[in-house]
Symmetry: C2
Subunit: 139 residues, 2 copies
């Protein structure tokens, strides 16, 4: 039984030096984000995208396994992308791969954060998610 389990995986993706036109294209970005969500193996349940004036696009794809979000700053060639999935099935790195090819940033940094680590923090009495799930089932 491992103690590093978490409910979700959240990739924070910083895409630098992208093309202006790609970052300002509402329809293209919306399609790419939906495709990226589907590639993780997730089920898309809602979509909300906006174009800002004079430039910039924001949007979120809510999936039954959390969400994907993007905010673009075409004037800086930059996009902040969040790829957050939960469950064992969905793999946010598949969305990362797809979006890296779509946006073609010259520089990318990423950080993967485990969300919802259901362990106690007293360094004595670790509780794994599995044991919590078992206790929930047993109720």
């Amino acid at each position: 039984m491992t103690n590093n389990q978490a409910l979700g995986k959240h990739i924070l993706m910083e895409a630098y030096d992208c093309e202006y036109d790609v970052l300002d294209d509402l329809r293209g970005i919306q399609s790419a984000m939906i495709e990226a969500a589907e590639r993780t193996g997730a089920t898309v349940v809602d979509v909300a995208f906006r174009k800002f004036e004079p430039y910039g696009v924001s949007g979120v794809v809510i999936i039954s396994e959390s969400h994907l979000a993007i905010h673009t700053w075409p004037e800086f060639g930059y996009a902040a992308i969040d790829l957050f999935t939960c469950g064992d099935k969905a793999d946010p790195w598949k969305a990362f791969e797809y979006l890296s090819n779509y946006f073609k940033p010259k520089k990318i940094t990423t950080m993967e954060i485990r969300r919802g680590s259901l362990v106690t923090t007293d360094n004595k009495n670790y509780v794994s998610i599995d044991s919590i799930r078992e206790s929930v089932k047993g109720e």
Copy 2:
């Protein structure tokens, strides 16, 4: 001129040991997230919330200064909350304060991440956002 400037501030908030009913209340959560967004000083531009069966709520508030998102696991007493704002005006910690009072988690962990640090990474030639903004204005 400082080099630690960034386009956005992103707080990842982990709310543990919340009440089941609060975490499973779609309307209450949607209202609280909109109120939290407004307290940051941001402008709400779109809202998408979903209730899952048998339990759980997901939702996003898109603001003109990025987004707030939440996913709840009532069965674990846990909510993953993202408070992402950009610009100098909006303060995501005001949303944090409001939501802490709303969800009353017995344990909270947070991480604040600067998104879109527009500096070069060669350790030689740092470029601040201000200087980039100036060059954009000058075009």
